[in-house]
Amino acid sequence: MTPVQPPRLAAWLLRQFGSSPKNESIIGDLNERFRQGRSRMWYWRQVTIAIIESAFTDLRTRKLVGLRAVVLGLIVIHIVGNTMFNLFGRVLAATQYFRLIGVMLVPTGTPFPVWVYPFFAAVVFIVGMVSGWVVGRLHRRHRAAMVLLYALSMLLYLFGFAIVEGLETSALSGGGSFAFYLVNCTVVLMGILFGGTFHMSRRDATCAQNVSS
């Protein structure tokens, strides 16, 4: 009988977003206990706790660096967002579905055709990815913790924006649609996390393992 394998995706997530330099040892320990009869649910729970705990441990003594990462990320996402929407916004504004007011891309209220959704999501993803990449790149030694902190603060920012400003004023809502806003918020967060780990090359992983040993 083939032995049950530990969840690979969970181990991969821990390797990408765990801030501990001892991630490989943690995965080894989790695999050992999993093969002693622990469930997949237990494994996922352990990975989630390990990611959160290691980020807190990393940020505990680096609060100013964390603040810098968040501020930097917010500045970059605004610059890149404005640039991208200026470029692609003109394409969208040429259609009947959006119009540009200054640099603001505002839906006209005409129902969108299907192609608008992936196009818009791709632009949002790229904006998130570039900002996540910059934050990760400039905080290489504490990459995972800083990218996670930035993603969390962006989540709070988007949530706060929706409450304070209302969905109608955000291009992410496509004219007030909560589902459209939710999807685009998820896409931008995915972009940040993807961009933040994009340059996590094999060489970086080896360096991290060497530092810890």
């Binding site: 490989e24 040892s25 943690i26 080894g28 290691s54």
Partner: protein, 111 residues
């Protein structure tokens, strides 16, 4: 009074588990020992987070050991209490015993 690194309550538990386990102190036995002694679920991530803080404070050192197939070929990381760590545990014990002493609410093991 000079400022010194102190042990948090979970860090103290991890230090005591390390002392008990001796040469076999790596993630799995440490978390099992803590679960057995405290009767609570202990996550491996929390144990490692505490061990890293203890390493930063100079109370613990670690080194890589052997890899095994059930670990997916990943090496075990063994932890050891340093002389400074042992001294800190003794001082914490002394302070706790002094604080404990003479509290009628805590005598006899009943709340």
């Amino acid at each position: 009074m000079t400022k010194r690194e102190q042990l948090g309550s979970f860090e103290l538990m991890v230090m005591l588990a390390l002392i008990r386990l001796g040469d076999n102190a790596y993630g799995v036995p440490i978390s099992e020992e803590l679960e057995r002694r405290t009767g609570r679920d202990v996550s491996i991530g929390s144990v490692y987070a505490a061990l890293e803080r203890l390493e930063d404070k100079g109370f613990v050192t670690s080194e890589l050991g052997e890899a095994t197939p059930e670990r997916g070929g990943r090496a075990k990381r063994y932890f050891r209490v340093t002389a400074r760590g042992l001294k800190e545990v003794r001082e914490t014990q002394r302070a706790l015993v002094k604080l404990w002493h003479g509290l009628p609410e805590l005598q006899g093991g009943k709340a």
